[in-house]
């Protein structure tokens, strides 16, 4: 790259100002997910010579008979030995339009928790299907998880079209089943694309073997997804993460509340309600380390200074006085259980929500989702990878919104205080004060 214009672009222009799209990819064991990711990396020229040499050598030594792009992503010794993916892997790639951050979630049924993990931060879920098998239980499971985790955009990559004769009728049949599924789940933005990841058809380059497909390639679709509307710009929420009090000669009276904006747009002069204390004040300044800024939006890590000298510790939340979250003592939540030890009513756990941690007792399990029918049935306990509805009683108040309204203030994790393990992902459904 010697072109001066291209370099300027690299440093300050389009490439440096492109936005970040977070993806989660999921699919059943042999649907070719690693191959798809390898293909995306390879065809967008993210794979460098030494990585490619390594893959070619390993493919040959294993006797794969072809350059196995799946080896690009299966990083751990056990994965390479067993030819499977055992944990979430995170990769990045960049095109002229966008920077992608990809969470690669394994497809085994027992790794539902990994898909939940990957989906928690995703803007887009890419669900792989095998064109010969069509919509199977795993497809329904993955679409359900994406919808429960409120992943705003869903893409179905109908893979192995080469093994289905590149047949349009077969694709349309699957597309119809997917429409039914997404309607049932209430997914807003869903799209299906016929691909053959092994050969690269419709992944980055349009496929000459599917001339009937006039839609985007997978990559073009991902590049075009509009995410600006996915953030909650309406409800001002700011969990206080860290209090900056230098008490130096130069900054003797400085008191800044540092944190990441969880909702709304913050300006100097905005009215503020501090929760749970209920004190009212106003925003004196919104600052970054480089000085005052005129607005802070969700996702930004900033420092907010308040007009009045009031004591606001970590774990408090600054909010719009006219639009407050619920101050909850009891929660009803959708939970994905991630521990080998089953969850039983009466269990005591720690809840980490935004920057606040309280204790909880599981008052009851209202039901567990049957992954085949997507219906909830009664259950006495929740096993590893179960998704269900629980009621929690809290030792102290949490300031929450329903997860469907705000992913940051509606989500929490449960921690087993005996082992310190993260044992569940939780999403607030409704609240009792």
């Amino acid at each position: 790259m010697s072109d001066a214009a291209e370099l300027a672009e690299l440093l300050g222009g389009e490439a440096a100002s492109s936005d970040l799209l977070r993806l989660v990819t999921c699919g059943s064991v042999d649907d070719g997910k690693s191959t798809l990711i390898g293909r995306l990396l390879y065809d967008t020229k993210q794979v460098l010579v030494d990585q490619m040499e390594h893959v070619a050598q390993t493919s040959e030594r294993r006797g794969d008979g072809y350059v196995n792009l799946a080896l690009l992503t299966d990083g751990l010794r056990a994965e390479r030995e067993q030819g499977i993916t055992i944990d979430v892997a995170y990769r990045s790639f960049v095109t002229a339009k966008r920077r992608f951050q990809l969470a690669d979630a394994p497809g085994h049924v027992q790794y539902t928790r990994n898909m939940v993990t990957g989906a928690s931060t995703a803007d887009v879920a890419v669900v792989l299907l095998d064109a010969r098998k069509g919509v199977i239980e795993q497809t329904r499971r993955h679409a359900l998880i994406a919808s429960l985790l409120a992943v705003p955009h869903l893409v179905f990559a109908v893979n192995k079209m080469d093994l289905a004769g590149f047949d349009e009728a077969r694709f349309r049949e699957i597309e119809g089943e997917l429409d039914t599924l997404t309607a049932q789940l209430g997914v807003g933005d869903a799209f299906a694309i016929p691909i053959a990841a092994l050969h690269g058809d419709n992944v980055v380059e349009p496929s000459p073997r599917m001339p009937w497909w006039t839609g985007s390639t997978l990559l073009a679709h991902l590049e075009a997804i509009e995410t600006a509307g996915d953030r909650n710009l309406a409800d001002r929420r700011f969990p206080v993460q860290w209090v900056i009090r230098p008490m130096s000669d130069e900054h003797h009276d400085y008191r800044g509340y540092a944190g990441q904006v969880a909702g709304g747009i913050w300006h100097a002069g905005d009215d503020v309600l501090v929760l749970p204390s209920g004190l009212r004040t106003r925003v004196l300044a919104v600052e970054s380390a480089d000085g005052p800024i005129d607005a802070a939006v969700p996702g930004m890590s900033v420092t907010i200074r308040l007009e009045d000298e009031i004591d606001v510790p970590r774990g408090d939340m600054l909010v719009d006085p006219d639009d407050r979250p619920a101050t909850a003592r009891e929660l009803e939540a959708t939970v994905c259980w991630m521990s080998e030890r089953p969850l039983q009513p009466g269990a005591r756990l720690a809840v980490k929500h935004t920057t606040r941690t309280v204790r909880a007792i599981v008052e009851g399990i209202d039901g567990v989702v049957d992954m085949d029918t997507l219906e909830q049935h009664e259950a006495a306990e929740m096993a590893l990878n179960d998704i269900g509805t629980v009621r929690l009683r809290l030792s102290g108040p949490l300031m929450v919104d329903p997860y469907a309204v705000n992913r940051a203030t509606g989500s929490f994790i449960l921690i087993d205080e005996a082992t310190n393990d993260t044992v569940a992902a939780g999403m607030v459904r409704s609240v009792r004060a």
Binding site: A16, V49, T73, R91, Q241, W242, S288, G291, A425
Partner: protein, 303 residues
Amino acid sequence: MRTAVHLTHLDELEAEAIHIMREVAAELERPVLLFSGGKDSIVLLRLAEKAFRPGRFPFPLMHVDTGHNFPEVIEFRDRRVAELGERLVVASVQESIDRGRVVEQTGPRASRNQLQTTTLLDAMAEHAFDAAIGGARRDEERSRAKERIFSFRDDFGQWDPRAQRPELWSLYNGKIRKGEQVRVFPISNWTELDVWQYVARERLELPSIYYAHEREVFERDGMLYAASDVVERYEHEVPFREWVRFRTVGDMSCTGAVRSRATSLHEVVAEIASTRVTERGETRADDRASEAAMEDRKRVGYF
């Protein structure tokens, strides 16, 4: 005043990293930030400024010094720490050798790289550090792609890839027992190019060896090593002068140089953007040892 309603990918990565640093400071008792003088840890220092200024850093900095580092980097390290007015702990591999904690390898292929693990773990125990913030990135190496941002280590400092805590939303679980540690990687999701773009955007100063300069080098296994009295040479390895720069900064015994005439930041970024070889593949001998070299080292406590 700056208006930033649209977040670029660098803004998002920066905000995420700042959030992570503040979580470490708030949830762990005695964190430390690992600072080697390399570009990734220079970015960490900038992020720490963004997270905690005008206050002081709520943790000291620590350098695990192999004693075989580039003098230009050590000079830079000390100057940068003084400018920031923060505390630096130096954990010395030479001291570990002198105290008999580790045995130095001998011969032309001797490296102090692996010895760092013991020095790091000893220093963490000595200072009772329970969290070490480091500049590792997932794009560096295959096994890193699997690692969490809060990477839990047992009381032997070991990483078990099969027993990692799920990481959901931006809710990090920093709960540990006495003796256990977390390694925290705020720039996990950054790539080498992101780091360089950030260095350019924030106008960060780097040690001079990142820019092309003429120096005595010799060739081994297709890599150019700096000629120095800390790396023993085979007879056929005759040093010669060459224009080079370094893509990564590590111990002189395992860090290779690349031929380059890129003397400015713009020229370096242009080279990085057009390279066809990964950073570690090109210049880190320690990762070439076996297919899972990094994974194996991390399992026993390496960074």
